[in-house]
Symmetry: C2
Subunit: 104 residues, 2 copies
C-alpha cells in the first residue's frame, strides 16, 4: 500500500537534527497516530523513544543499534525494526531513508 | 486550520536538492492534490513549476524572486506567494520554511 487513506495530516512538519530528519504526523480514522518521514545520509543520529516504535523502512538503507545492544543491524526497503519505549537507538543512514513510524 | 482532514497521504516523501527540501504529497477528498513540506535554510534554490502553484508559508522566513522579476520579496508565516505555471522561482530560506503547496 503506497498511501494512507482517510487520515488527518498535521500541516507543520517535525524537523530534527537541523533537518537531517523531517517527518509529518498523521492521525488515522481510528485515532491511531503514525508519522511518515525521511532521514538523510550522514553521521550517526541518536533518537530517544517515549512510546515503543516500529520503524518501517519504505526505501533507503540504514544501520541501527538499539540501546543496550552490542551490535548494529542493517535494514532496507520492506524491513522493519522495533524499539522499546523509553529507550533509544543509534541510526546511520547510508542511502536516504523513507520510513513510516508506528507508535505503541 | 492546523491539519488537513480526510486526505490520502503518499507514504514516500519527495526529496529535492539533497534533502534541502522534503515534502509529502496529499490527495484531498475531492481529488485535489497538495503537498506539505519543509525547505531548510541555506543557499538559494531554483524550483521549476509545471502547474501554477500557490505557496502558503506556515512558519519560517524566505526571500523569493519569480522568474522574469527583477526584485525579490520576503515572505513569512501567514503569507503566500503565487508562481505561474511553466515558470520558476528562486527561493532563499533564512529560517526553516514550513509550507503548503497548492497546485492549479
Amino acid at each position: 500500500m503506497e498511501q494512507f487513506d482517510n487520515v488527518s495530516v498535521i500541516k507543520k512538519a517535525n524537523v530534527y537534527f537541523d533537518g537531517r530528519c523531517v517527518s509529518h504526523s498523521l492521525i488515522l480514522a481510528d485515532g491511531v497516530r503514525k508519522s511518515v518521514g525521511v532521514i538523510l545520509p550522514g553521521a550517526t543520529l541518536t533518537f530517544n523513544t517515549g512510546a515503543p516504535e516500529i520503524m518501517e523502512v519504505l526505501a533507503g538503507q540504514c544501520s541501527v543499534q538499539l540501546k543496550g545492544e552490542s551490535t548494529a543491524q542493517n535494514y532496507g526497503a520492506g524491513q522493519s525494526f522495533s524499539v522499546p519505549g523509553d529507550s533509544a537507538f543509534d541510526i546511520t543512514v547510508t542511502d536516504t531513508l523513507h520510513y513510516v513510524c508506528h507508535f505503541g
